[in-house]
Symmetry: D2
Subunit: 308 residues, 4 copies
């Protein structure tokens, strides 16, 4: 099993957790979904993230779906979200998933942190809690966590802890932060991998600013894969043409809280998972919203045809 | 002077406040900007909003720019933002701007409100503070205010106060809220005008859900005007074609805090205002960001040519 | 094992979790502490609360300390805190502790809830998640959770769910809420038990307003026991004399975040637990703070002597 | 007129704004109240603070009451709260009140600040906005502002700006912050005056940690004056005896939002102001709450008699 590192690049798809309408985990769809992500060019997966309905899984379910996805992913890296209110739970889940072959763990800061000093201390505690060879992804998502981490604070954390190898970047606005971090590296700070979230809606600019790729769950991972590849080859206009075609749907999928229902609806409509169902208390798309997504998917197909 | 009402429709542009590089208000640009907005088809303006740098204006400056814009706007309606931590300041500014001929005032809830009951009581206090014939716009913008107002709470406020005639809708996600409010009206609740914000990034869906138009400051108001008109005529595909062309730039302009710098940069580049400068402590666009906007404007022009 | 109910009264002490300096759970001190609480007159205990360092316990540690305390408590009721970001974890832990003989579970709202409607829906989901005969304590602690629940919202939740039998009341200010809830009961709403937190600093007023007792972890539970008994007998002046003697220390212990260190320091100094140690990353009292507590304990003893 | 400085010491009472039942400012009571504060030993006053109902005053009312209080205060220093969402308003009000003879201005951070860097930049902007010889009080009150300022961040701000001469300290818990700041001064950072708020409930410990006095609005300023004097003379036990006598009422007055109603009720009952009325939308004490305060005032009198 490949570990993530400060050199990791490409697209890590945030995986959904497929459910049967009964609320059971849909194991057949899970395998199919993993295959789909890699067929579309994903370089890795991230599971049990905020969008993976992790809080609705029991501990044993979380472990069991982790095992299944790790097995299906073969030698591709799979990052596992282990954020929790307590360090003990983070330590426990980290040990369990690393033993199973995870490529690293992802930790978002708890909402109670306020000052720079508290944020720095928190990641020191996390690093002390897990084994020193566990690669860690720092998830910087202020809109969801309420915790704002300045570029300088990120820099301090990266300096302090060599095993924090990756930033899941989803500050908003966040483009300057990428430039800040890369500038600090040019002045000698060690490199970290920067994979960007925010549903991909700034991917062309993020790549131009020095991001290494994307880590988000947009239901057309092929867009992210191609935009990253085209960007890396310098074909930025072509990258933007493709990006723009998907943007109306991406924007719709980016809606907080609603995004997961949209993503599952699209995945089901694309035949990737059998059911769009979320486990309770998640709500399915309303008929009106489903129709809005239908229109966006139709228009996307036409636009892609015109691009070919 | 025309007043806003529950029947108001169309596009109210949130106006910027033009400054000279010295920090003085740029009066010549102000007139030019007002003319530009109406030439592009705006139905009205909203001034001294969050994006109008209102907090950087002294009381007398705020009044003086209001007078100038009201004069230049002629018989077109101009709404004035009067949100403030205290009711006394709201009452004072409301009286002053209504005396000058404003079409109504806009009030966002202060960030200290928590429960539904507190929000309902707040608007009762606002209504008591201003004269009973002043039309009020309720600004519902949780991302900026931190105050979340449910559809039912909005309904109660509208029932309680006939002079709250308009909702500036910028909850996110907020489409369901439009549907909720219109459904309540069909069951007998009095009508309110719903003009949508959020930089316009959901305008096609908002119009389809029953919105009356847009109230936001996107630097190409002609897009909003045309999308609203096309939507009203049922030409939704054409509306979306146009909308999609502008979306890459709209998405960029929607970035919190950064949006105003983008907007002013675009207005200056379009020749509408002489300088993109914000009054301190506002920051201009970084060179990298300016280049990103240049690319988006270039691509927009090409896309519009292809649409014609 | 006795279950809590809407008729529960008296003092439920929020129990600390004793640790050895090594970070291991101190089982001997745990038993001694349970005995101490009941010897001092506690009617029940609440464990794994915010102050019980629950987030620092692994799942198996949490269960094992629950078992030990339940065993030692004998037929006295023990409430277990099961708040968690996800319903699955709440369901799992609730089942486990109820099977072991807990008297009920306590659930605080997650910090993401905003509107009254969201809070009401959340408790409906919690009730659906646990077995219908599990007695639930609603913990209303806005200072810690960020969630503000109005009296009317509490009333709706109590009406909706007969198995929410108790309110852990620690809104601040919160006296009016007690009066509101009791007034609603007089108009016909079913009764709930109200036990008050906030380190006990409003206990005389809370009892006079209709509270049933206290649920907090002040390190002198005998004060709470006596103040409740004296209040119930109408000896309010005597109750206040006693309360006032402890108030300087209570006020010190009430400091957010610091409170647990104070409490453990006092318990250790009283000989109840062997070590004041918190599990990492908790901080012990600084020498200056310890000296401040020493002074307060000395003065308390003198004051109590004078009262006798 | 005396200016505040980094050497200021003693008790600055946060003054209420007396109103007539009609809502008009009660000018006669205002003078009487100023006299009362100084007769009880206050070293200075702070007006237009959060508790002064400043947001309910129009700009001209705020100036007019400032003038009256400054006149009545004679050569005693009066600090004026000038916190506002915008720098322009801060600059305007500062100039106006300094011209009238204020001893300095007090500025709390706006709730939108998050990172240490943002807080530091904000005070740089404030300092640039006002004249360089205006003494500034930094109000650090996280419970009310939502902004958490670490000891190190405070230190940076004090180093950067020599005219920020005083800290109104009301972090909670905040004792360690006093020790941190004094320790930094011993290592060479310039001195600032530290006056403590939080309704005075930690005054003995604050004085022992190195505070210079109190700045809060407890309705018995003589308690603060005496506790500070006794503390300064090293008569700490006597200071605590006195403090403890007032603590039951202080604790009651410290309740957020409710505190002002309690304070005005007590001032009215003591004959200092003619009416306890707050300007709308402030609520008077409920009859139940008023009775609770009556009991506390009675018990205080008895306790003071026993101390004599």
């Amino acid at each position: 099993m490949q570990m993530i590192s400060a050199q990791s690049k490409g697209v890590f798809v945030i995986a959904a957790t497929p459910f049967l309408p009964s609320g059971e985990i849909d194991l057949a769809s899970t395998d199919k979904m993993v295959d789909f992500y890699f067929e579309k060019g994903a370089d890795g997966l991230t599971i049990l993230g905020m969008m993976g309905e992790a809080p609705k899984l029991t501990h044993s379910e979380a472990l069991s779906i982790t095992k299944q996805i790790l097995k299906r992913a073969g030698d591709k890296p799979v990052v596992v979200g282990v954020s929790a209110p307590g360090l003990a739970a983070i330590g426990e889940l980290t040990k369990a998933v690393m033993d199973e072959g995870a490529a690293g763990v992802m930790v978002a800061p708890p909402g109670s942190l306020r000052t720079n000093e508290q944020i720095i201390a928190y990641y020191a505690n996390v690093v002390q809690t897990v084994d020193e060879d566990v690669p860690i992804v720092l998830q910087d998502f202020p809109l969801a966590t309420g915790v704002h981490i300045s570029s300088a604070t990120l820099g301090t954390i990266f300096e302090n802890h060599a095993n924090i190898v990756m930033l899941k970047h989803e500050d908003w606005p966040g483009l300057q932060k990428i430039s800040d971090l890369r500038a600090a590296e040019e002045k000698g700070r060690r490199r970290v991998s920067i994979l960007c979230g925010n549903a991909g809606v700034f991917l062309p600019e993020e790549m131009a600013r020095g991001a290494d790729g994307a880590m988000t769950g947009f239901a057309y991972p092929e867009m992210m894969v191609k935009v990253c590849r085209l960007s890396n080859r310098g074909e930025t206009d072509k990258a933007r043409d493709l990006f723009d075609a998907y943007l109306p749907l991406m924007r719709y999928e980016q809606q907080p809280a609603l995004g997961l229902a949209v993503r599952k609806y699209v995945l089901a409509k694309r035949g990737v998972i059998a059911h769009a169902a979320q486990r309770k208390p998640g709500a399915d798309l309303s008929p009106l919203a489903a129709k809005e997504v239908d229109i966006l998917m139709d228009r996307l197909e036409k636009r892609l045809s015109a691009l070919r």
